[in-house]
């Protein structure tokens, strides 16, 4: 793969309205299942408040993030060759028939771009999309600039993703360019355990049970998790799979774990981050553990963690940065960016 494709610019957009976690837990359904980890889900999660989109649609969140990123980059939208939507929860209209990519193209005036959407990987759709985008750019001389966008708006009363996390609304965008000498994407590794496909799903309007309809919690688009399987089948392999994709991408490019200067990791929960630090013997300052105030932002976590670390000076020139995450499906992904 062309080793000179890099992250030219990245940014995110979060709605200004915030909702305290105490209010979220008061408003939403109480989970009835038990969680295997020895933690108090509500008290120990480490997130105090969530960003909540009011009138803005999911596509608006994508478009706002794209505009912020384009403005920061000073790139003319007409230069963009590819737009790939990597949103990981349902959008304004039903997928895979529709995606927000075309609406983003229209809104920003990226008239020559080809648009598509990657709809796999859950929060790891960021890594899957990087893999596809870099491959397409590398294989085709005519693709020089790509815009990756995501916008997630959680249905009302479904911010509580027990037992994993609590989710904010927001959007993110990343501009990839060829011929970069810094922020180069050295490699991307993705792994999937497909037998877990039906552990975390949204049944959809065509598949809903009558008891889900109406009432305070009209769960038309709410996620349903099989907590027993989560405890028995996902938790035991999670860190093993993280190790597999991280070592996989390091092997791709001939690097070692100790060569990595900084890790971008999702903001699922405080205990999840602690488990990651412990498993890989990483000091807290080497991992993006300071973004919990945003709440978990699905695939956008990777962009928020990266952008915040850059702006705070935690990533420096010459640093090797590992971005690693997992997501529904289930997939795990890791990418390496050379600063």
């Amino acid at each position: 793969m062309n080793a000179n494709i890099g992250i030219f610019e990245a940014n995110y957009y979060l709605p200004s309205t915030k909702k305290t976690l105490a209010q979220v837990f008061e408003d939403e359904e109480k989970p009835t299942e038990s969680f295997a980890a020895n933690v108090d889900f509500e008290k120990d999660i480490g997130i105090d408040a969530l960003h909540v989109a009011k009138e803005e649609t999911a596509a608006d969140l994508c478009i706002n993030a794209a505009r912020l990123t384009l403005s920061k980059s000073a790139i003319d939208p007409k230069e963009i060759d590819l737009i790939i939507d990597f949103t990981s929860i349902p959008e304004d209209y039903v997928a895979p028939t529709w995606s927000a990519a075309g609406q983003v193209q229209q809104a920003i005036g990226a008239t020559r771009a080809f648009t598509t959407a990657i709809n796999t990987g859950g929060c790891a759709s960021y890594q899957t999309t990087l893999k596809v985008a870099c491959s397409l750019m590398s294989a085709n001389d005519r693709y020089n600039t790509a815009l990756l966008v995501a916008g997630d708006k959680t249905p009302e009363f479904n911010h509580n993703y027990f037992p994993i996390t609590v989710v904010s609304d927001g959007g993110s965008a990343v501009i990839l360019k060829k011929n970069m000498t810094t922020r180069r994407i050295l490699g991307v590794e993705v792994a999937t355990v497909g037998r877990l496909h039906d552990m975390w799903v949204i049944p959809g309007i065509h598949n809903r049970k009558t008891e889900d309809i109406g009432g305070k919690y009209p769960r038309w688009l709410h996620v349903c998790g099989d907590i027993q399987r989560f405890n028995k089948e996902l938790i035991p392999i999670n860190l093993f799979m993280f190790r597999k994709v991280m070592l996989g991408v390091l092997k791709q490019v001939g690097k070692k774990m100790e060569d990595v200067d900084y890790f971008v990791y999702p903001t699922f929960s405080a205990w999840d981050q602690d488990a990651f630090l412990k498993a890989f013997k990483l000091p807290r300052e080497k991992v993006s553990t300071e973004n919990m105030h945003h709440g978990h932002l699905q695939e956008t976590d990777m962009v928020v963690g990266y952008v915040d670390a850059l702006e705070a000076g935690r990533i420096k020139d010459g640093d090797l940065v590992m971005l690693a995450t997992n997501g529904a499906g289930f997939s795990w992904g890791a990418s390496l960016v050379q600063h």
């Binding site: 949103t87 796999t120 596809v132 397409l136 496909h197 949204i202 049944p203 996620v223």
Partner: protein, 333 residues
């Protein structure tokens, strides 16, 4: 691209049950006339009849298994499963995607999965182009399984009943791609989008904007905008661009494969492509209707099996889909 990537095998898995288009029109309250029948050129479509084996994902699994078997590929050597469906799946995409289930059930446990949204009938070529790029550009990836399963929404098989555009059937297909394959070489793909038409065809109900309205859970088409979009001309211009890039003349192309949307659509394609659209497209359209992403694998297989396309022939696959997206792929068989 560094290495040639080609199609090792393809397979379609269609429900055994078929319905006459005339009956579907009656059921859906759409007017069926001799003029409509001639314009569509579709006699019957395969539709699943409620059997568990004929859910979209189960048909995709069956197609995937058969394609791997035809290719002589051990599922454990598949590096990536690429999904190109168009219709809503058993659970909501993108939280769920059938590619994960396919990966598990065909035994491709060493692979990762990728799925594509928003390209309509062009989704297959988006998947083909992306998979070919991944195999050509990543040393660790050699074999891809492309797969789809599409089942239509009951009561929504006639697209735009007031002025019908096509009749959609159910089906699944799979294609095995490999770096250094001996034939079926994917030479190049040209992709194009017009975001102004992002909502020319979509399903409004069951989404964030209309979460609870089952009456909107239907594929809707803005016919005026659909008609205004210069589909055949756009595809011919894209083909010319792609052929020029590949250093091949249109006269060297043996055959053009288009989507099985309607007789009217095919007539426009025949005009734009100088009557090179393969006769298999009309035959498959009449007997199967529009099978979304499966149209291309079905027509490709028919072309090979009928001998219309021979080894070494250049074939153009052309498709326009919602999004609006247009796609052209050039293959050397």
């Amino acid at each position: 691209m560094r290495a040639a990537v080609g199609i090792l095998a393809a397979c379609c898995h269609l429900p055994a049950h078929k319905r006459l288009v005339e009956d579907l029109f009656r059921e859906e309250g759409a007017g069926y006339s001799a003029e409509v029948a001639a314009r569509l050129g579709i006699k019957e479509v395969p539709l699943q009849d409620g059997a568990a084996s004929e859910t979209a994902s189960n048909m995709a699994v069956a197609a995937g298994r058969e394609a791997l078997q035809r290719a002589g590929v051990d599922p454990l050597t598949v590096d990536v499963v690429v999904e190109y469906s168009i219709m809503p799946q058993e659970y909501l995409v993108p939280v769920w995607n059938m590619s994960n289930k396919v990966q598990a059930e065909v035994g491709a446990s060493k692979s990762f999965v990728v799925g594509f949204s928003g390209g309509g009938s062009s989704n297959f070529m988006v998947a083909l182009s992306s998979a070919a790029a991944m195999l050509a550009e990543n040393d660790s990836l050699k074999t891809a399984l492309l797969v789809t399963g599409d089942t239509t929404i009951p009561g929504n098989r006639v697209l735009n009943p007031a002025d019908p555009v096509t009749v959609m059937g159910d089906g699944a297909s799979a294609v095995v791609l490999r770096r250094d394959a001996p034939g079926g070489i994917v030479i190049d793909t040209e992709l194009w989008s017009d975001g102004n038409n992002h909502d020319v065809c979509y399903i409004p109900g069951g989404s964030l904007i209309h979460p609870e309205d089952i009456n909107f859970y239907r594929m809707q088409l803005d016919k005026a905008r659909y008609d205004a979009f210069p589909k055949a001309e756009t595809l011919r211009q894209m083909s010319n661009k792609l052929l020029e890039r590949a250093g091949i003349k249109f006269t060297d192309v043996a055959s053009v494969l288009c989507s099985n949307i309607s007789a009217q659509d095919e007539t426009e394609m025949q005009q734009a492509f100088e009557n090179k659209v393969s006769p298999v497209c009309a035959t498959n359209r009449e007997s199967h209707g529009h099978l979304q992403g499966t149209d291309f694998p079905l027509n490709y297989l028919s072309s090979i099996e009928s001998g219309i396309v021979k080894q070494g022939d250049y074939v153009l696959g052309v498709s326009h889909g919602m999004g609006a997206t247009a796609a052209v792929s050039l293959l050397r068989c």
